[in-house]
């Protein structure tokens, strides 16, 4: 019961804020809604027991990436009046068609899952540690060690790339 309430409230918030992100006229407002959206997603992760991912969601997404967005929005603050959202905007037809297709797919899935319920959960993995962070860490630092190091390489490359891009060519 409580789980359902939490889910529906959070889902409503997530979708509502997402719509506001996409429709807000002022980019700064979009960023604000994006933060709130991400915080709701983090709360959803908590209800799913993924504490560590939730913490990262807040720390990296809400506290880091969106700050970057906000700075960039303020850096390129266009002096022209903010772009109005028009229904007849670019690729509106294509966008709506695609969105419609996805919705049809979603409906299909919903119907399908009614017809054949998901398979019962498989047994939990046995890890030598308890606690969400510890378990995630254990997977990250044993089975997924190579992707982990590759991810750090990716971050390095991203940093170098961003610095090169930010430099003024003279």
């Amino acid at each position: 019961m409580a789980e359902a309430i939490a889910f529906y409230v959070l889902a409503a918030c997530i979708l509502g804020f997402a719509v506001l992100v996409v429709t807000a006229k002022n980019p700064v407002h979009s960023v604000v809604f994006l933060v709130l959206d991400f915080l709701c997603v983090a709360a959803l992760y908590v209800t799913l027991g993924a504490e560590f991912v939730a913490a990262i969601q807040v720390l990296v997404y809400a506290g880091g990436i969106v700050v970057l967005y906000l700075f960039v929005v303020m850096l390129v603050n266009v002096k022209r009046p903010p772009e109005a959202f028009r229904a007849g905007g670019r690729h509106a037809m294509l966008g709506l068609a695609l969105a419609g297709a996805v919705l049809v797919e979603a409906a299909a899935i919903a119907v399908w899952s009614r017809l054949s319920p998901a398979a019962p959960a498989s047994a939990a993995q046995s890890l030598p540690v308890s606690g969400n962070t510890e378990q995630v860490g254990w997977l990250l630092y044993t089975s997924y060690l190579v992707p982990f190091e590759v991810a750090s390489m990716l971050l390095l490359v991203a940093m170098v790339g961003a610095i090169v891009l930010a430099r003024k060519e003279s």
């Binding site: 850096l75 930010a166 430099r167 003024k168 003279s170």
Partner: protein, 376 residues
Amino acid sequence: MSSPTPQYGPMFDTDELVINMGPQHPSTHGVLRVVLRLDGEKVVDADVVIGYLHRGVEKLSESRSWAQIVLLTDRLDYVSAATSNVGYCETVEKLMAIEVPRRAKYLRVILSELQRIASHLLWLGTHAMDTGAMTVFLYAFRERELILDLFEEYCGARLTYNSMRIGGLPQDLPPSWDRKVLEFCRIMEGKLEEYETLLTGNRIWLERTKGVGVIDGAEALALGLSGPPLRGSGVRRDVRKDEPYAAYDEMEFDVPLGVAGDTFDRYVVRMQEFRQSIRIIRQAMQGIPEGPILGKVPRLIKPPAGEVYHAIESPKGELGFFIVSDGKSMSPYRFRVRPPSFCNLQALPRLVKGHLIADVVALIGSLDVVLGEVDR
């Protein structure tokens, strides 16, 4: 004029931002307005806008009697009224060839030096406050209060003293005033150590002042700097030594000089001047002769026709008065003040170029301008 501006790392430049600093800004020492063109926080260019406190003292003096103008000079550099009084009175005395008694000359030296300490204390406090050291501000004001008490006892006023008369001084020293002055000198010497503990040895203070607003001696001279900012650049120029007035020719004192010409050197110069002032006060108190305090002055002050320029060393720099008398009317025909703050402030755009906003504040502080004198 193309002395090197500080060089900072590789460029990540973007567009410039124009921002107003002042006239209502907590650290432009009154109503100074600086229009800054910024790149990020770096100052690309600065335009100094003044005149917000322009009261027309020069024009006003042309319709005031010679004696009344002493009052107006109080309002020039209102934190250092006594030195302005001395400067004006000496100029008129020079014009009228009035001989001032030696005792009055000594008293002028004592009052000028006390005033210099008071003015420098105000500078120290506000300069430290500008860089965020608020305790020094209150300490400096605590000691300044002692000087104001001394002045109050001498002439009844605490800020605009009207403490000089053409030909001498209005009254002799109150009883036991000399003892209090010497006592103050003793206290002040101890307090100087305290300030230096808080600032001179402080890493943050050094980082904030060393290498900021560097100007070499030749350029400082060319830009018309005078007083401590000029001496901070290593130029040995002090009106008290070069063109002695009052009883300064009988005093023994050193002219402290800076080396690098940065904010820190200007700070050091003024800190040394505190000590020199105390030294002068002690000498003057010791050698003060007995005698009258007012020379032979006609009842009606009406100088002969002619022009005169006379300068003194105010705490801010060379304070000059250029006075024209037509020999007929009861007021000066032309009254002109050469304000040291005005001329020092002129160097601000050159000093701040390439520095950060925080340095602008520190540099205004290190020039020690008083807007009452800049705008007159």
